[in-house]
Amino acid sequence: MIDMTILAYCIPGLLLVLTLILSSRNRFMGNDAVLNTFSIIHAFYLLGLTIFIMFTADLPVYFMDGRYFAIDRLSLYEILIAAIVFCLSAIYARGYIRDLLNTGEIARNNTGLFYGAFNMLFTVIVLSFLANNVALYWIFLELTTLFSALLIVILKARENITASLKYVFIASSAMLFSFVGIIILYALNLDLVNGGVLNWDTLLEIAPSLPGTAFGVAFILLFIGFGAKSGLVPFHTWLPIAHSRAPSVVSALLSGVLLNIGIYGIMRLNAVATQTTVGDNLKVFLIVAGILSILVPAFCLAVRTDTKKFIAFSSIEHMGLLVLGIGLSSPAVLFWVLFHKLGHSLSKVLLFFSAGIFHRQYESNKYFQIKNAFKLQPLASWGLILGSLSVLGVPLFPIFLSKLNILIGLADFSVAGLVIVLLLLFIIASSFGYYLVRAFSNREEEAELKAYNTPKSMKWPIAFIFVILLGLGLYMPGGLADWLNGIVSDLGFLG
């Protein structure tokens, strides 16, 4: 059963693309309802498959002779987050994309391209989590850039093309540095292991015998590419523009899933690094990089006028927090880093979905265009407000717990660092307050805007995220906690 798993994961996406290519002249396949239904089924199928493997398989499982693919707790957890986000996005896209098609913002004949890229992005993301080989992971990471760039450019405005190109060039160039890192990593263990390996699990085993300085060089080179993919400072410049230009459903995917993949790579890499002789230096490197990624958004948020750009900057901050937590590399902090990922993905999806409804209502992402929001779009307004509270880490939301525990971990490491981060987080929270107050205090009764009739498919995902977020904040299922503890010990951190 297990040998077919990889195939089971990638068949639907490939099948759809094949059908789309073969039937490019067929009207039926250009039908957005058909394609959307397929995407929803695809997403739920993969969610079901992932949950099924979680309960039945004896982990970790390796595939092929070279162990090119593997399933372990960490990859399943990441796929689970991705699958949840994709399920929600596929449902949301039903109403949202139809609306974009009706207003002509996406050309009818590009429907197939959109859904093809959407499903392939999902497939490639899953494969990047399943890849056990660093080079293979690198290739899938590159492919995610490709398909997400296609999804950004689906709105044919000049700004979208620029945003997409900026993303492709920054991410791919940075990824080439990563590849140099991979080559060095390979050269390093040519003598250690017969033939040389790049498998995550073998690297973890041979980590103590890797030469320190050279591994440090490889680590930093790899970090450049993975960091660029997750929008860490100083490679973050593509992120705000790409997130704000993309259709909201794509922004949600970018922020909720795509950024996580780079962080996943850094997490695996750090597990190897802590066992080498330069582990302590790299730890400081990651912590500094994390703080830097909190610092830049802290000073950028207050002056933003575009809701989606605002949310995008907050994503940079959260990626910084995650890298900071990974750098601390204590078992307790890593546990909460993993939990933070889940909370952050859901909150960002909520925010971008709400921003998408606002964009349909006011035909703009600017805060000063938002008028009578509570009367016209009550659900989206609450989505934006509760999503912001969740992202800030207000109690009762899951991010409260994770943020608190990461900060406690930081206090053990350095009090000065904690003071700086707390100060930055305070600035960020103030900026959020400032933005929301300005957005929601606009009351121009005479404007007489007609309420945008939000389709049900756009409302349900938002309502559903409310429920999960509050649920996770109040009660963490025992199974989830065990699972996360399992991941931490898999990575070689004994709790």
Partner: protein
């Protein structure tokens, strides 16, 4: 097997040629000659892989050489020429941040910095002088490609910069450790996909046809700030 002295002489000569093509890519204004220079650079890399194959006898190197020859010296330049034929621009005259002369000076400085870095910091890994030189020139080529990406205005020229970076990675991997062939192959596929995407997008941005811009800007509501 070739005589070791001759072998190292050939490799050194090829290194010089590669640096020469890199310098031309940084300064060249005409797009079609840029593509040709790229083809020549890839050809030199293929020759280098063949020379290394004759010396080492690793079959992997021969495959890499053939792949480079087929894709990078023939297919990619032909594709780019075809794209260029349909584009209204033929030259990339604008340089942002750096003029051609200062680019050359900076790339020379980069070469020295990379050399110093490799000999001092990472010296423990690179014990052979030829491997060291290959690594240095590979990394320098990557940095020069990056310089092309941010100092040129046209997207199509930026694409050439990216391709040059990738050539640098190939050069680096030839001397450091050849990756399994399947991975090299997948990278080339990935490169092709990125190339096609950016060329298609570049067509939208680089062409100065008024009609095309009007068509784009009609979707005005997404176009803010």
């Amino acid at each position: 097997m070739i005589d070791t002295i001759i072998f190292s002489d050939i490799i050194h000569g090829l290194f010089v040629l590669i640096l020469g093509t890199a310098a031309l890519i940084i300064t060249q204004r005409s797009l079609s000659s840029l593509f040709n220079i790229y083809a020549v650079q890839s050809f030199i890399l293929a020759v280098m892989a063949i020379v290394l194959f004759i010396e080492n006898g690793t079959l992997n190197l021969l495959f890499i050489a053939l792949l480079t020859l087929a894709v990078k010296t023939i297919f990619i330049p032909l594709f780019l020429h075809r794209v260029l034929k349909r584009m209204p621009v033929k030259r990339d005259l604008q340089f942002s941040f750096l003029s051609p002369a200062s680019s050359i000076i900076i790339s020379t400085i980069l070469l020295f910095v990379v050399y110093l870095f490799f000999t001092n910091i990472a010296g423990e890994v690179f014990n052979d002088s030829l491997i060291l030189l290959g690594g240095v020139i590979g990394i320098s080529l990557i940095l020069m490609g990056m310089m092309v990406i941010f100092s040129r205005k046209r997207v199509i020229t930026k694409t050439i910069g990216y391709l040059t970076m990738e050539n640098g990675v190939l050069l680096f991997s030839l001397f450091m450790a050849e990756m399994p062939f399947i991975i090299e192959f997948l990278i080339v596929i990935d490169l092709l996909m990125i190339l096609v995407l950016s060329a298609v997008l570049a067509f939208g941005i680089d062409s100065s046809l008024e009609e095309f811009h009007k068509k784009l800007n009609r979707l005005g509501i997404w176009v803010e700030d």
